[in-house]
Structures are given as structure tokens and as C-alpha cells.
Amino acid sequence: MSGVTRAEHCVIACAEAWRGAGEILASPMGLVPSVGARLARHTFAPDLLLTDGEALLVGLDGTVEGWLPYRQHLALVTGGRRHVMMGASQIDRYGNQNIACIGDWAKPVRQLLGVRGAPVNTLNNPTSYWVPRHSRRVFVERVDMVCGVGYDRAAGARHHRIPRVVSDLGVFDFATPGRSMRLASLHPGVSVEQVREATGFDLVVPDEVPLTRDPTAEELRLIREVIDPRTTRAREVAL
């Protein structure tokens, strides 16, 4: 399909995280994952729960259908009926994620947010990640502070799962024997070499790497006319 932007392929890649998820809460953090979650609910995941970003569960037209203040949100996390897509300031080959600080934790070079809910998320509900600018600063050999727990540190925790990492270059998963990050699909226009150059560790690259699928005509219409007519997605990923 011609004329599909990189941001729109990213939306599709994020939306696919919630395919077949059933009646669970989609917690997208960031503009592109938010458009993706709404697209999923509009199309192939109609039972998803969405929030208004505050304390309410809302339908696609904004109809309030429930109340979810922070403390109930935390119970929902531990109940497991949620799939969150978080950001990552750093992420390593096993999916360890950092949003707390850069440098030595005791006296950081750059203080960031703090661990937030990453430790509880990763031990309780599926946790995916969204990285709008794929670079060696983000995809690092070793994160400075493990907030979200990766496969090598989860020790087989019973509810631990990192379904996917989506960046502006492609989609990544951990479907390898050693649970190391693998290139699952390339966004159209991106080369394997480009991904390798932007990644600070050895990525598993299969012989055949598929392309991230195109949106259907109806999905493209929903993204452009219904969900994100003001093109907020382009603020995270250039058109």
C-alpha cells in the first residue's frame, strides 16, 4: 500500500500487541501506542477496556463505563487482566528496562522518572515496550537500573511475559532459545543493517525477516479520520 507513513506502521505494530487479548485493560503509554490501542478496540480486539488517562474506563466515544482510580488500577495489574505498553529510556537484549536514571543510581548523571510501576507490571501482566527513536543510547548492552524485569532476571516468574518491543524501525520479540531479543519484523523502508547499527547489542536476526504488515484501507481510514485526525502520531515518529 502506498502512502502509508512510518508512524502508521508503528500504530499497526502497537495495535497488534492487543490482538486476541480479550476483555483486559489496554494501558498504552505514549501517543502511537494510544492510537494503536484504540485501533485494536475498533477492529480486532473489541472487548478491550480503555481509560481516559485518569480514573475512568471509557468507550471509544467517551462513554464512561467504569471507575478505575490508581489503587484499583494496581489491583487490576496484579490480577493480570491488563497488557501495558510502557516506554523505555534503556532496554537490553533480555528486555530489562530502565526509566529511573542514567549513570550510577547513587548519584545519577541524569535523574529520570523513577521505577514507577515497572517492577510490579513485569511480574504480573504482559508488558510490552514502545521506543519512538531506536538508537544505541536506548538499546544498550546493559541498562543502568533494572526497573522492568527482563527474561534473564525473571527466573521463570509465573506471570512474567514481554510480548513485544516496538520501535520506529521494527518489531522485536524474545522468541529465541535463550530468550534474547529477536528482530520479528522490519517496518517497510528499513534495512536489517540500519537496525543493527542502531542497536548496542547483538540482535538475533532470522534468515527471513518479514515486513510489518500494512494497515488495511479501513484501518487507515480509522487512524486518519476517526482516531487521530490531528496526526498526533507524527509528534513521536516523523511522517
Binding site: 485518569e54 480514573a55 475512568l56 471507575w67 482510580p69 490508581y70 489503587r71 494496581l74 495489574v77 496484579t78 529511573a100 536514571c101 543510581w105 547513587a106 548519584k107 545519577p108 548523571v109 541524569r110 535523574q111 529520570l112 522518572l113 523513577g114 521505577v115 514507577r116 510501576g117 515497572a118 517492577p119 510490579v120 513485569t122 511480574l123 504480573n124 537500573m145 533494572v146 526497573c147 522492568g148 524485569v149 532476571r153 525473571a154 527466573a155 516468574a157 509465573r158 506471570h159
Partner: protein
């Protein structure tokens, strides 16, 4: 029954250096800023602050009042990273006890229930365990044998929270969408000071709002402070939204300049300087 109304200065006069203070709200939402401003005008220092952090933490950190901070994050919401907090952390100004959002909540629950700890499925495998080496784990005594973090109680010497309405006895009401954890902060504390937009008669509280909005119960409250605009510049829905312009000014003004301009005088002077005096 006793009238618990007092001024912010009277509340702060009951606090002492070295105390552990819990501060309610979340990020840059419904923070008890009038009480924080009164605290900044006092000499109280060397504090352990327990907070889902916003500008309360940023201001106290910038002013050098924090010895230790217990938090899962510090943010201004619409400005993701709190600049004064960042600067203080990057110069190693205080000790940080970094815990996850859920660990924090269970620490308050433990304190409120007079338990030494509560088990939580969070923290294990993360660097929270490395940077907080004092954290212990417990193994389930049942067949599953799972290992959990034993989150220690976050018992507080005092809690500071801000709500929409309260009566003179200490019954506090929130009218916004989220209670945050303010009732838990009060229950986890030896003394709780509740500021509010407006003190009303008890009967007024449920004239227009459902009894479920009565978040804070008077037996957990020591002092009630009427502080209109008391959460400014954070949000206090539905009474007012966050003052984004003022928050931007806070975030971009060097701390000494901000403190001199807005915090040198009393609360009335603050409101006047912030353009809310009229």
C-alpha cells in the same frame, strides 16, 4: 466533639525536624501545597518524605529539607521530569529509598493495619532490591512456595493531605475522580493534617455529594486547615485544574529566584504573587 480547625502555621508548629512525613496526592495532582509552603517557611528540616512525588518533593528538595525520600517517581505530569528534584538528585543531595508504586501502596496498607510488612509480587528481579539492600523477602507458607518482597510498613509521624471539603471535626471529602491514597496516608500516620478548599458544616458534606466521597474519617485526623487554593499550582478537580502556566514558570525559574518571588511571604502573599489574590 472537638473543633480541629487550625492554621497551616499551627499545623507546621507541631512538626519537628527529623520526622517522617507522608504527603498525599499524586504527581502534580491535589498536593497539599499550602501546607508544603508553610513547611518551607518554617525551620523544620532533616525530613524523611514519603510521597508519590510531585512539586512537593521538588520544592522540599530544592530547599534542602529532605534527608531521605521514599518514592516510586517524581513528576509534574504535564512536564514529565521534575527539574528541581532532578537537580537535587544529580548533586546527591539526599538519600533515596526507591520503591515500586505497588510496594509503596502496600507499605501504607501495612502501616494502616499495624502490620510490620505485607507481601507483594513486585520488586524481585529488579534493581529495587539492589538499591534498597534492606528489603527482605518472604516465602509463601502454602504449597506454591512463591517468594515475595516483604514490603515494610511505611509508618508516618505525620501526614499532610489536601481535599475539596472538610468539616471542623476532620471528616474530609474529595469531589474529584481519584482518591489517590490520601485516606491511607492518614491511617498510616500518628497525626494527620488535612487542608481543604472549604470548611463546611457536617450536614453540608452530603447535601450534594454521595457519602462515598467522604474519604477521610475524623478519628484519623489531628488538624483541619481551611486553605482555598491550597493545592495550587497542582490540580484540585473539580474546584480547579492544574495551573499549567504557573507550573511552567516554577519548572523554568531558578529555585532561589522562585523562592524569593513566591515563598518569602505568607499564603496571602503567595496567592497575590501568583495572581490569585483577588
Amino acid at each position: 466533639m472537638s473543633d480541629k480547625t487550625m492554621t497551616a502555621e499551627e499545623a507546621v508548629a507541631r512538626l519537628a525536624s527529623g520526622m517522617t512525613l507522608g504527603i498525599g496526592g499524586w504527581g502534580s495532582r491535589r498536593k497539599p501545597m499550602a501546607l508544603v509552603r508553610a513547611l518551607l517557611r518554617s525551620q523544620v528540616t532533616d525530613l524523611t518524605i514519603v510521597s508519590y512525588g510531585g512539586p512537593d518533593v521538588g520544592m522540599l528538595a530544592a530547599a534542602g529539607r529532605i534527608r531521605k525520600l521514599v518514592t516510586a517517581f517524581v513528576t509534574l505530569d504535564s512536564i514529565p521530569l521534575e527539574p528541581h528534584y532532578r537537580a537535587a538528585r544529580e548533586r546527591g543531595a539526599f538519600e533515596l529509598a526507591e520503591v515500586d508504586e505497588a510496594m509503596f501502596m502496600w507499605g501504607l496498607h501495612a502501616a494502616a493495619n499495624r502490620l510490620p510488612f505485607l507481601p507483594v509480587r513486585a520488586g524481585i528481579g529488579s534493581d529495587v532490591m539492589r538499591v534498597n539492600p534492606g528489603l527482605r523477602t518472604v516465602t509463601s507458607p502454602y504449597e506454591d512456595q512463591e517468594t515475595f518482597v516483604a514490603m515494610p510498613a511505611l509508618r508516618l509521624d505525620a501526614a499532610l493531605v489536601h481535599v475539596n471539603r472538610a468539616d471542623r471535626l476532620g471528616n474530609g471529602q474529595y469531589l474529584g475522580p481519584d482518591p489517590y491514597f490520601d485516606d491511607l496516608f492518614c491511617e498510616a500516620a500518628d497525626a494527620a493534617y488535612v487542608s481543604c478548599e472549604q470548611v463546611v458544616d457536617t450536614a453540608e458534606l452530603t447535601k450534594a455529594a454521595a457519602p462515598q466521597s467522604l474519604l477521610i474519617k475524623r478519628h484519623t485526623v489531628t488538624g483541619v486547615i481551611e486553605a482555598p487554593g491550597g493545592a495550587h499550582f497542582t490540580s484540585c478537580a473539580p474546584d480547579y485544574a492544574r495551573d499549567e502556566a504557573f507550573q511552567q514558570r516554577y519548572a523554568t525559574t531558578p529555585w532561589p529566584e522562585f523562592a524569593a518571588r513566591f515563598l518569602a511571604g505568607d499564603e496571602r502573599a503567595y496567592r497575590s504573587a501568583a495572581g490569585e489574590g483577588s
